[in-house]
């Protein structure tokens, strides 16, 4: 009977082992569709990290610009308010015939009451042919006001002299000029005036590219006539920008002076999403079963990151030192593979998993006594490493307005704090998750070099936003007595907040 049963096996083996069946065409189509789907998912996964980084950077850039602009405006307002709040400008210009270009040097009364002459001229040519204003009429006074970013000249006419004319005309900024008239560019557009209901009147505004001035022609000025800032003449904008720039540059100079006075110490808490990879080299071991190429082909780096705190010390205007403490996490996934049992360092036979970061032994409960050479199917394995690093680097930086650009290079000592390996092996109807909390073959310490570029955007005297793309590269292998030598490399986008102390 036994012999007969053995025959049964042979019958089926010889009949079916080399059999061939033609699959239906639909099967390939399904495989084809699945492969397309896998490709799409893989591309999605591949660029997911890049997308996240890009969004984060855009967000930070947006916040920085917004904050910077807001702070800049506040500073401008403070600066101007402190110098020229409610300045009164005398108007001898209007005593002269109005049909000529006239200019004057305005004496500005500062708030303190001291009269000082500055190099500012009011240039204004007015035509007042309408019933409202006759040539020769002059406003009682022109007042220059700046409330924050809102700059205006108030031309005050006496109501008693001309009841029909405007009581007050507000003009927008940039009627104070510092240079000579050139390049007249007439512009006509009724949009520039708001509040004037007399549409029949012809309104013409002439503006000069630099410096701008306003010319009123055939126009009756009414109370509360104004040129709204949002309808500013395009030709005025460059000038306005120039004015602001000149003010900004003076502020920037002040700020640089301030910066020089700032403390030499600063700290930067930061976070850096990293793109990580290993440079693998074969160990000079002729008896090895796994090569660097093998390991490289089956491993993929997952999301890695570094975060920590750095401290900066400014030696002089350009040079500085940086140190601190960092915590880096690296996660690597290994494709499914068959693992084999072999004696471990203590002579016990266990299943060995080789990785680029060393090796680990597992002994699943369902296979407690394997023989050398026994195999198990391991599904995807993941191993993660965590290092505490102490970097020391030299920095060279230059300040440009609110930005600080710098170069940084140095070394870092990295101390291994965690090396964990997790895999899932087959265990009948269920899978068994095996964890190795100590990956063997790893050095406790390795050294790495680092090089990077710093871009700081100053939010205020104390705080800057830091963006620093940084390349870190291992100077020695993280592995000892293992199959391959591993040199971790990372490229990280450091984002942090620098706080002056």
């Amino acid at each position: 009977m036994d012999e007969n049963l053995h025959d049964i096996e042979d019958i089926f083996y010889s009949a079916l082992n080399d059999n061939e069946e033609t699959p239906s065409p639909e099967t390939w189509n399904k495989v084809d569709r699945r492969l397309d789907k896998e490709t799409v998912i893989s591309i999605k996964k591949k660029y997911a990290v890049v997308k996240r980084i890009a969004i984060l950077l855009l967000l930070l850039l947006g916040i920085s610009i917004y904050e910077g602009e807001r702070i800049s405006n506040n500073n401008l307002a403070k600066n101007n308010n402190s110098n020229s709040v409610d300045q009164k400008i005398s108007v001898p210009v209007f005593n002269k015939p109005l049909n000529k270009i006239t200019e004057t040097t305005a004496g500005i009364k500062a708030k303190s009451g001291k009269k000082k002459t500055v190099n500012k001229r009011i240039i204004m040519q007015t035509y007042s042919g309408s019933a409202g204003q006759k040539p020769g009429n002059k406003p009682d006074e022109i007042t220059y006001r700046e409330d924050g970013s809102n700059k205006k000249y108030i031309i005050q006419y006496s109501q008693s002299k001309n009841k029909n004319s405007a009581g007050k005309v507000r003009l927008t900024s940039a009627t104070v000029v510092n240079s000579e008239i050139r390049n007249e560019t007439p512009v006509e557009d009724s949009r520039y005036f708001k509040g004037n209901k007399n549409a029949m009147e012809r309104r013409q505004v002439l503006s000069l590219n630099c410096p701008p001035y306003l010319l009123f022609e055939d126009m009756m000025l009414h109370a509360k006539d104004s040129i709204d800032i949002k309808y500013s003449l395009p030709e005025l904008l460059p000038y306005k920008t120039n004015v602001l720039n000149s003010r900004n540059s003076s502020i920037a100079k002040n700020r640089m002076k301030d910066a020089e006075k700032l403390s030499r110490f600063s700290i930067t808490p930061f976070f850096s999403p990293d793109i990580a990879w290993y440079n693998l080299q074969d160990e000079n071991n002729n008896n090895q079963s796994t090569s660097a190429v093998d390991i490289e082909s089956k491993e993929k780096h997952e999301f890695s990151s570094t975060y920590g705190l750095t401290a900066d010390y400014k030696i002089n205007k350009h040079w500085g030192l940086q140190s601190g403490i960092t915590l880096s996490n690296t996660n690597i996934v290994t494709d499914p593979e068959i693992i084999y049992a072999q004696p471990d360092n203590t002579g016990n036979i266990k299943y060995r998993i080789n990785t680029s970061s060393g090796y680990g032994y597992i002994l699943p409960s369902f296979s407690a006594n394997p023989a050398t050479g026994d195999s198990l199917y391991a599904f995807i394995s993941t191993h993660s490493l965590q290092y505490i690093g102490i970097p020391v680097s030299a920095t060279y930086s230059i300040i440009k307005n609110k930005f600080l650009f710098g170069l940084r290079t140095g070394v870092s000592a990295n101390y291994l704090t965690k090396a964990k390996l997790e895999t899932t092996v087959e265990k009948g109807f269920d899978n068994s998750v095996e964890t190795v909390n100590k990956i063997q073959g790893l050095k406790k310490i390795y050294f790495s070099g680092l090089a990077g570029v710093d871009v700081n955007f100053q939010l205020n005297k104390k705080i800057s936003v830091v963006f620093a793309p940084t390349f870190r590269f291992a100077l020695n292998s993280i592995i000892k007595n293992a199959l391959v030598n591993s040199y971790p490399m990372t490229f990280g986008s450091v984002v942090g907040l620098k706080i002056g102390l």
Binding site: M1, N4, L5, D7, I8, E9, D10, I11, F12, Y13, S14, A15, L16, N17, N19, E20, E21, T22, P23, S24, E26, T27, W28, K30, V31, D32, R34, L35, E38, T39, D294, S297, K298, D335, P336, E337, F366, S367, D374, L376, Y377, E426, K427, G428, F429, D430
Partner: protein
């Protein structure tokens, strides 16, 4: 001279296969289709033994080929490429077996008549298709043990580890499977004789 020619042809074939694999790794769909065409008939035959019917076999093979294309970079050119694909198909079949509800067929094997049947006799009188249907008719638990033992050459200890059952269960399932198959063959031969 002939052996030299054969060697050269085999080297050329290997080189051709290597190029085809590299092209598949690069994601060339045309090459993937060629590789599929080359191995699909044999692999479907393998999957037919693990599935209960053709549809299930094609489902297993489809999953298997997706895994093959995803893992091609892991192939080390050591050993047979066909054997490597076959192994993947086997693992996919096991996964499929686990994923689907297990239905254990209660088989009364007491009534199985034991006949002394000659192997050649059976092969001459039964078609391959009929034998395949007999294997497919086995319960999943019997079928997978029978397939792993007979066609993959695994030992009961390995089968037990792979399926998460005891070695004794593996042996018992195998024995029962053989009994059922023996009975099925005997019945089929009896029917054939009557005609």
């Amino acid at each position: 001279m002939d052996s030299v020619t054969i060697n050269r042809n085999s080297t050329e074939l290997l080189e051709h296969l290597r190029q085809l694999i590299q092209s598949c790794i690069g994601g060339n769909r045309f090459s993937q289709n060629r590789l599929y065409d080359q191995f699909a008939p044999k692999m479907l035959s393998v999957c037919m033994r693990y599935g209960k019917n053709r549809e299930e076999a094609e489902e297993i093979m489809q999953e298997g080929f997706v895994q093959v294309f995803k893992s091609l970079h892991n192939f080390k050119y050591v050993g047979s490429f066909e054997g490597w694909i076959r192994k993947i198909m086997m693992y996919c079949a096991i996964q499929h077996y686990r994923a689907n509800p297990k239905m254990y067929l209660v088989v009364d094997i007491e009534n199985v008549t034991e006949q002394q049947i000659c192997k050649e006799d059976i092969l001459s009188r039964l078609q391959k298709k009929e034998l395949l249907e007999m294997v497919q008719a086995l319960s999943p638990a019997y079928r997978i043990v029978f397939d792993l033992y007979v066609f993959e050459g695994m030992k009961h200890r390995e089968i037990a580890q792979l399926l998460g059952i005891s070695e004794g269960t593996s042996k018992s399932n195998f024995f029962d499977a053989k009994k059922i198959l023996q009975k099925a063959i005997a019945n089929r031969l009896k029917v054939a004789e009557n005609y």
